[in-house]
């Protein structure tokens, strides 16, 4: 799939005008019961297509901020541990988010890791964070690349604590590494991801390095005894 086509998919899903895009519904009806749910609602189980449900970006930014702040508090500013926890949270998110991603985008398996990288940057990040990081710095074996973030909604409003350590130890957006790890594992790719620079630390760019470790084989059912 060409890079242009990939970015078009991202745009189209974000704006949801592409008739090819699978239907993304509102929550068809809500919690509790069939008993007092009006019949008409049942008929709207799969109603008209709608755009990707949106929410105020600041709510997301601030919510993420409180999560990081809470972790810093709980782990007594042990930033290594905070990084680890953020990665773990991201991993959990990634495993869920990939299903949503596939459901929304309707894209199939990527042919190679380069295509995967494009898909992550131009469709994945576009749908979920409305940014499109640049894919660059490919290693010669095509198994390693960098994502450069021009914008990072998670870090809007953020300044790291001025304690002489946070700028050297904390990767504020580390949750994103976990998200990539979790979501790619679900589509049979074991990867490793880490930030190498962050404007919050005073670096010129925000860059994440992603490396493919291996493709995961299908799991077999346990042997009958």
């Amino acid at each position: 799939m060409s890079a242009n086509k990939t970015s078009r998919i991202g745009e189209e899903i974000w704006k949801s005008v592409n008739p090819q895009t699978p239907i993304i519904t509102e929550k068809p009806f809500s919690i509790y019961s069939t008993a007092f749910r009006p019949r008409t609602q049942a008929n709207q189980l799969f109603p008209r297509r709608t755009r990707v449900d949106k929410v105020n970006a600041e709510l997301v930014t601030l919510t993420y901020g409180t999560i990081v702040a809470q972790l810093c508090q709980d782990y007594d500013s042990d930033y290594q541990e905070v990084n680890k926890q953020l990665d773990k949270m991201g991993y959990n998110i990634g495993m869920r988010l990939i299903e949503d991603f596939l459901a929304k985008s309707g894209v199939g398996r990527c042919a190679n890791f380069r295509e995967t990288a494009d898909m992550i940057a131009k469709v994945g990040f576009k749908i979920f964070l409305n940014v499109t990081p640049t894919v660059t710095n490919w290693a010669s074996d095509n198994n390693q690349f960098s994502l450069i973030f021009e914008d990072n909604p998670l870090a809007d409003f953020v300044e790291l604590p001025d304690d002489g350590r946070a700028q050297d130890e904390l990767w504020f957006s580390n949750i994103l590494c976990g998200v990539l790890r979790g979501s790619l594992e679900m589509v049979q790719m074991q990867i490793e991801a880490h930030f190498v620079s962050d404007v919050l630390r005073g670096d010129e760019t925000t860059e994440m390095r992603v490396s493919l470790v291996r493709y995961i084989e299908d799991e077999m059912p346990p042997e009958e005894e």
Binding site: A57, T63, P153, F157, L160
Partner: protein, 253 residues
Amino acid sequence: MAAPPRHSTMLSISNGGTQQSGPNDKQTQQQAQTLPQSPGLRVPSNRKTIYDRHLNRSRNAELSRASFAYLFGEMVTYAQRRVTGIQDLEKRLNEQGYPLGLRLLDLLFYRSTSTSSSALSSSSTSSSPPNRPLRIITLLHLIHGPLWRLLFGRSADALEHSVSPDTPNEYMITDNDPLVNTYISVPREMSMLNCAAFVAGIIEGVCDGCGFETKVSAHNQPTEMWPSRTVFLVRFGDSVMEREKVLERAGVK
């Protein structure tokens, strides 16, 4: 309840109007590569810092609701690992919302002043916003309207006052379909749980930030039409009620 001190350094929107960037700031910054407010922090030379970006740049920005759902979900999961019961969990969610309320309050004031005064560049970036609510009703309307619109893109659904003589300090804010509960299917054995306790914490933070000592809790009050309808019970402290009486006699609006 006091805000954990660490928050104030993590997220700096609480600095509100005083730190919006202007041309002057940028020049100063170019000369001295470090910012006066935080001499210890390194900043990139391309000036991608909060001080160089307008506080309103994300005002109308939107993100996927799913992204919020995942973050909020992880917050709930993380909180769940560290608590012993439903009440404890709600307390923790409340505590996580609280600092957010404090910050949103400043953001609300900043925005309401900058839109009401036509000149955005008003030199009076005063530290005391002019329109801090003094009376309970003004405060509640701030929450019911502007705060809800900022967070959820619409006003809350109802605002009510207890007329019971025993509880004149109780008010209710109703949301028929809270955004935070969109994807949550609460298991039977936890039917009391309402994860909107997070929002209750936000309300508490806003009230406290205005100087109204309050306890806010979230309760499931489903109706046939709105199965996830949630009522936020706002209970003001005695000191607030006493002050309210004084202000009423003095005719302060």
